[in-house]
């Protein structure tokens, strides 16, 4: 199977979008699933959110962050990834909730936001509110990649207020929870805001599903690296999640474990930069 890139566009200075041929993943994808990418033969197995599946291809938003995402950024339409595996993970129930909010922020979660809102909106009786939070005007996505078209209410916010509402999604959520009846919240993005969101929704007694990003290796339930602690019970983000009831997640452990390989990631980046200098 050749996992050819069929589209690659910049979303802004740090994010880009790619469409990749992966028919098996596309065929069985449900919002809440993810894919495992291996970009090159000696690459890592990295979990990646899927924005949509159409025909034979899947769409993914990628942040130029570490070595792998930057290396992949040097590729073009027609180039192929080494492996694309999935869909993996267990999606939360996609059903009638009533008024549903999906929030995502600068770190990530926008792919899930689009995918979830699209699907939940198809289910009769759901009223969809999407909140997308970015640092500033320069880092928002082009309009066609936002969840505006798949939500009943769409709230764009920037932390400096340069476009849309001023603030993080947490500020918007606070207002919404005070003013209106919300039946279910979903959220992706940075882990510390997710912890805060979980505390906030708990205060208002509103259930929340959060994407608990953890470091995965095989992503098939074999290594235990992505273990998260739910009400004291050990679960695996790769097969039981990655979305969990935010009120029950041990957030301190999740935040700590996510940083385990930070120094190594910096080493990988440095070596890649050195290599690129030689190429130039």
């Amino acid at each position: 199977m050749k996992h050819t890139i069929t589209r690659k566009e910049d979303l802004n200075a740090v994010d880009y979008v790619i469409d990749v041929v992966a028919p098996e993943v596309a065929k069985r994808f449900r919002p809440g699933n993810f894919a495992v990418l291996i970009t090159v033969k000696n690459g890592e197995r990295i979990p990646m959110s899927i924005e949509r599946a159409e025909g034979d291809t899947i769409t993914m938003y990628i942040k130029r962050l570490g070595k792998t995402s930057r290396e992949l950024d040097t590729w073009n339409v027609g180039d192929a990834l080494y492996k694309v595996i999935g869909p993996m993970g267990t999606p939360p129930p996609l059903k009638k909730y009533g008024t549903v909010v999906f929030a995502s922020d600068l770190v990530c979660g926008h792919a899930e936001n689009n995918a979830m809102c699209r699907e939940l909106g198809k289910i009769m009786g759901n009223h969809i509110i999407s909140i997308q939070s970015f640092p500033d005007k320069s880092l928002i996505y082009p309009e066609k990649e936002l969840a505006k078209s798949v939500s009943d209410e769409f709230i764009l916010c920037t932390e400096d207020g340069s476009v849309g509402r001023k603030g993080h999604y947490l500020d918007i959520m606070q207002e919404l929870l005070e003013e209106r009846r919300i039946d279910q919240v979903f959220a992706g993005g940075g882990i510390p805001p997710l912890q805060k969101l979980s505390e906030l929704t708990k205060k208002y007694n509103v259930p929340v599903y959060t994407t608990v990003r953890q470091i995965m290796v095989d992503a098939t339930g074999m290594c235990g690296s992505c273990r998260v602690f739910i009400d004291g019970e050990q679960k695996l983000a790769c097969i039981d999640g990655p979305m969990f009831d935010g009120h029950k997640v041990d957030w301190e452990a999740a935040i700590s474990r996510l940083a385990m390989f930070k120094n190594k990631e910096a080493v990988a980046m440095e070596c890649y930069n050195e290599k690129m200098k030689e190429v130039v």
């Binding site: 999935g86 339930g221 074999m222």
Partner: protein, 459 residues
Amino acid sequence: MAVQPRVPMREQNPAVRITNFMSVPLGYSSEEAVTEAKRCLQCKVPMCETGCPVRMSIKDIIKLIADEEFEKAFYLSKADNAVPAMTGRVCPQEDQCEGKCVLDKTGQPINIGKLFAFVADWARKKDILEQIPEESNGKKVAIVGAGPAGITCSVDLRKLGYEVTVFEALHMAGGVLQYGIPAFRLPRDVVDYELSYLEKIGVDIQLNKVVGQNVDFEVLKKEYDAIYLATGAGAPRFLNCEGEKLKGVYSANEFLIRVNLMKAYKFPDWDTPIICGDKVGVIGCGNVAMDAARCAKRLGAKEVSILYRRTKQCAPARAEEIHHAEEEGIIFKEMISPCRIFGNEDGWVTGIEMVKTEFKGTDKSGRPRPVNVEGSEFILEMDTIINALGTTPNRLFLSNVPELDTYSWGGIKVDDNYMSNIPGVFAGGDALSGGSTVIDAMGNGRDAAEAIDKYLNNP
């Protein structure tokens, strides 16, 4: 009559080999193999063969080696064993063939494992292959999992003329041979070569196929005449003690997958990193514990300890592995059991609290039962803890096939013919047993192939 001593196996010097991942045993030369084979008494009733889970013709193979008929010896070993170069290296021979050898009583049994590895290596170097079955009998079998059980079953069925497709969830075939066993025990060129044999005889291996996730089990049931589930026991067990969420605490699976499958020891040339500290504690004393400890040493750990609640005399690890580990400076701390792991403000492991144990009676396995000595708790400073406590059957597959009958611990229930409660769906290997040896899983794969053949010929 005095028994000739075993021809010693040349090995990499321990001081050198802890700096690399190359094979520890250097293998027999032709002369050495012939000399060793000539020690065989050619017993009328070869007890060694009764100990072999895949029923190899051990006596005849050794005779052929003694007669320098290496090619014939290779064909004969390949007749019963799809991957002799691997089993020759990783089987617990001391409990099986060699343990039953008449010469075992003298302490010098025939070195059957190394002789078989020699023959297979000889054939690999000469690129000699077995005859390839061409025609199909028109029936199709799907095999889920390309580990030892799945591989063996696929080869036996292909030889009988079945069209066989193996679905493997990972991006490389081999199962534990690939992700679990380190290259210093099982060189990767050996793995690659023996697995390429499957493709050469026409077994179709489909990688990255996670049955239940991206391959519909219902579709498999419709498209294939029979299915063999060899999904293994890949899920790690944890202590479920305080501090297990700390950074620097690994399951042996994670540690070994990073090193063996993802080549973390080649980081940053390979992208997957690993963090191994200076003072490493490995909990458990099986072969997996030895592999993890010896990998840690090769990753540069200054002090690696096995923490075990029994003594190494009753450990599940092979004697050879314990011996190699000791040669490499692995420290064995026996009769102690973990209580809790603790760490610093940044969430990294700094130590583990252990309690002393004593033996009281025996347990279900017949081994002495260790019980904690109250009040004997003490602390070991560690910066890396690796849990090698065994594994449980793969939960991912089972969760996708809820109609499959399983035991409460996750093992698949089968009848005397290895058939599950779903007609035409067979199961084997660690998915049944919950964890055993490569060769036992292979024996299971052979038996299942026979059962599947019988089932498909007498529907």
